[in-house]
Symmetry: C2
Subunit: 365 residues, 2 copies
């Protein structure tokens, strides 16, 4: 189906086929996935709702390997945030309560296709839950590494799916290191390293564009930590542009919590990569990433779209959370950063999309 599919190293440029269970280059570099998707628009719009309707744009060879709960095609609804009318995309309406299911569905399908029996992932919560749930459906064993500080509800969720939970003392980065060590002996189902995850989250862009009548919006305001959604969206938009479905790219507005904003700080210094690793505590635990592995890639994506970064304070996050809930949308603090940013960012005229990435039930006590 996708004969032209290949993995390309971002460091040394070496390419390899996508039928090997690798998640990084032999040189240690990050891999990107390249292939040429197709968008048969008329056929797509007649298919059942869900992210797998973009079948010819998803890097899984054989339908029998698809691991899915029929998820996706989340609602796109008009709301007012900060006095501005925007379209909220309800990305918390996924089986595990976050958009991370998009990435997990494609990645775990690929793992199944590769004959993999056990995977490792590390996550502050949402990606771990997503990988655990889809592995449960696929019958693949999984080990999830989480920082010790992860909220109890997220831990309970991961354990419920039957995953083996490893609580790692120290920082989010210590947790990632522990997982990478373990992944040396198995497959790293990482939402940061593994390129197949991003080829799941890219379906966010496909759906949004289809829901707008196969047109691109003017801007998208996205919470950013490791850039799982932002990079997926960028990949999806570029694929749509190459295929001639859309002409220009919408501005990507990346939002960080001020207490942990390495990308925003790099942006302000016009730097190509992050170097400040300061981190203070933030309610937006899902995007509290001091050392984003794909930081340079995220900065480049935002720059290429004429976008920008913005950061929001803890008080602004709380206000965003309240504003969303009182509009009937219960979301988690990491998602509320985007709501808060609508008031703060310099947004273009026209259509602005705000993904609401995680369910508030995840953090409700």
């Amino acid at each position: 189906m996708h004969e032209t599919m290949k993995l390309v190293c971002r460091e040394c440029g070496e390419t390899s086929g996508a039928s090997e269970p690798v998640w990084r280059c032999t040189c240690g570099g990050l891999l990107d996935l390249e292939f040429k998707p197709q968008f048969p628009k008329r056929a797509v719009s007649r298919r059942e709702p869900g992210m797998w309707r973009y079948r010819e744009a998803l890097p899984v060879e054989n339908d029998v390997n698809i691991v899915s709960f029929g998820e996706g095609l989340t609602p796109l609804v008009k709301v007012e945030f900060g006095g501005r009318s925007v379209l909220a995309k309800l990305e918390f309406l996924f089986p595990t309560g976050s958009f991370k299911d998009r990435g997990a569905s494609v990645l775990v399908s690929k793992a199944k296709e590769l004959g993999i029996k056990r995977v490792v992932e590390d996550s502050s919560g949402n990606a771990g839950a997503a990988i655990a749930a889809y592995c449960a459906r696929a019958g693949i064993a999984c080990d999830i590494y989480v920082p010790e500080s992860t909220s109890p509800a997220k831990l309970a969720q991961i354990a419920a799916y039957g995953a083996k939970l490893h609580r790692v003392p120290g920082t989010r980065e210590d947790c990632a290191h522990a997982a990478r060590r373990a992944a040396g002996r198995t497959y790293y189902a990482s939402h940061v390293w593994n390129p197949f995850f991003f080829h799941g989250t890219k379906t966010f862009a496909f759906e949004m564009v289809e829901q707008l009548g196969w047109e691109a919006p003017d801007a998208i305001v996205l919470p950013v930590g490791n850039g799982t959604l932002l990079l997926g969206t960028y990949i999806g938009l570029k694929e749509l542009q190459k295929a001639g479905v859309i002409q220009k790219l919408p501005k990507l507005i990346g939002v960080q919590a001020r207490n942990c904003a390495p990308l925003h700080e790099a942006w302000n210094q016009n730097a190509d990569s992050t170097h400040v690793k300061r981190r203070r505590s933030t309610a937006a635990e899902g995007i509290a990433i001091a050392e984003p592995v794909r930081g340079d890639q995220i900065l480049e994506a935002v720059r290429n779209t004429g976008g920008a970064f913005v950061s929001v304070t803890e008080a602004e996050i709380r206000a965003g959370l309240k504003e969303a809930a009182q509009a009937g949308l219960l979301i988690e603090p990491s998602s509320a950063t985007a709501v808060a940013a609508v008031r703060k960012a310099a947004l273009p005229r026209g259509t602005v999309i705000v993904p609401l990435t995680g369910h508030g039930l995840k953090s409700a006590k």
Copy 2:
């Protein structure tokens, strides 16, 4: 649009128009809503996904009054429960985390159409959250009465939407009485009394039938407390049958927690209404209803479909919860009763549907 729509009293048979803000008959009796929906199948299947695609079957006159988050058309996915292959309908994929949003969307739309500014509801949690969220979106004030024993996560959710929360000491029935007293001065947005709620939950049946290629399944296994989903499903199926879309009705299998099973007990005694009000504690708090107001109607519906009742123990509920989670589906204990019942009920051959009614994040600690 629906000139023939009328409210009919189940006690005295008196009819009235549906443009008055009434929720019970002047005689005190329960009201049903009667009207003749249409199902333009070809047009429906081309519309956007969501429950409002069945527009000609929903009792709201004017589109401007629709209060919606684009919800519905939840996935219908193949799973194995108790060694039996069934189709699970993921009814927890709603903005507030339960199927109750179906009822709230139609009821609150109707309230808006009637010009109502404030409503009252009582609920063990899910219906209260649903009414609160849709009222938030509609700009309608609401008071939610909950039993003191309701789980903290559900209380936090209702309060977050901006509803005024009233915690009532005593039983679930004491709570309902308190709400009914308050409703004397306002509009009772009840998921038990108000017929418009059931004309929202009926969309469960429409979606299921459309997803099966406009065919009825052979059986549906549903958790039952007040019968919000079971009666809605029955109404929807009858409407589809009258309109000639389906020929025969699927068997409705009602599931109760053994610790609070007035309907199952009445069924075993071949009674037309419930009379045993025994209640012991159960994890299935969403269906722990000792005195179901529409009990006779629920018994009649199940009887008319050739269905049955079954009840499950606390250990079986726990096992159902675990079985679902380890299949990647995190649900709440009330929903797990249906999973447990698949193993226990005498099910026909053919297609069996199991709605998974509430998100597990609601009860995760």
